[in-house]
Symmetry: C2
Subunit: 258 residues, 2 copies
Amino acid sequence: MHNSTLNSIFNRTSLRKYKNVEIEENHLNLILESAMRAPTAGNMMMYSIIVVKDARTKELLSKTCDNQPFIAAAPVILIFLADMHRLYNYFESCNIKDYCNKTNVKFKTPNLSSLFLAAGDAFIAAQNTVIAAESLNIGSCYIGDIIENYEIHKKHFNLPDWTFPISMLCLGYYPDDYPKKVTPRFDKKYIIHSEHYQDLNKDDFKNMYELYENKISKPNKYNAENFGQFLYGRKFGQEFSSEMERSINVILKHWLKK
Amino acid sequence: MHNSTLNSIFNRTSLRKYKNVEIEENHLNLILESAMRAPTAGNMMMYSIIVVKDARTKELLSKTCDNQPFIAAAPVILIFLADMHRLYNYFESCNIKDYCNKTNVKFKTPNLSSLFLAAGDAFIAAQNTVIAAESLNIGSCYIGDIIENYEIHKKHFNLPDWTFPISMLCLGYYPDDYPKKVTPRFDKKYIIHSEHYQDLNKDDFKNMYELYENKISKPNKYNAENFGQFLYGRKFGQEFSSEMERSINVILKHWLKK
């Protein structure tokens, strides 16, 4: 019924178990070229992608990214960096400080606005990767935990100060006969707003989360009485959440040279 | 040669001139459903999308987003918000503070890590929108300038403190016989790294930017002697760049309740 691009989008699901074969070189190339076709602010491509195939590095990432063993089994891992380092090195090679002095343009090192633009570039390129991969029967899983343990990643991957490891993707072919099951999303009336932002009320939340409310066991390991408490306990009450906050603050110190 | 999903990705270009017809309701629905199929951290969908069709609002956005008149002529505009407001309202409806007190889990309001996760969710959903639109012959253009002039947008769109207008898309059908021309990207050897981040040198930059170096006129309106200076003058030396930085700092004050 849909065109095949929409089918790739509608049928995509996070894959955490991969067929035990390498990704073909021509497929990986198509995926990386798709990433690079992503829209980018001012065509500046303020991101870099690190391709990881080394087994020991995958092992490291499986530990530093909130101890998720399946990461080590992914045939290919891509790390997406918001990258202002490359652009500022280029500016330096163009004598940018002389230019700023001569023309009275203020010389600014990377700040929060370039961080958000570069992070946008990186996320947008990552999602092109996901859709391209899906169309080639290659599944993917985002790992937001790459933001954690910055010091370890900075050292291992040789990350300059003006790079920010913003997202990571595990990639691998779907296993044969994989029972693909698409995760339900909330009804669009809760996500899509017309002309202005509209608040939801208690009844809306009850309907919105009904499916999940009925799914959790009571009692449960988070001592939660309802799904909201369960979700908070599982996602925001955990150590990895505090670690991510700590790590971001360290990254920002490097980025802003504070 | 490629599958049609890859064709949608490879042929997409930023469209700033739209066919003067409404977007069909079924097409807009498919686009919004595609956005909502995007991967999202913990299936929490920490974003909201505001659909703008109102002519006066488009007129406003064309001014507040760095004075770009074509914005007002887009049949549909989508504003992507990183949104922790909805989730924290839900938590409140679940008596989250009582839960935290009872279980000794720390109650935290939205912080930088939830901002980056939510911003990722929003960007990733935006790019699904772009690819889905492209497959329906609907062109798109990202407007990063939605981050500017926060106070005006907050008031007009009724944005709660824990929402961050992170990106915007203009959408409309390609004009008939539109001469689609895909923008060149840098060679992948400058963007893709194997296993570790690698620095580029002066010769790399010379090759990387050669195409652009030969394109700018000398003299030029930015008094730039080379493309690096030209790019800095055009992108980072401008008022909109300072305004974005100012605006982000205001948004962060609201987000972090400082």
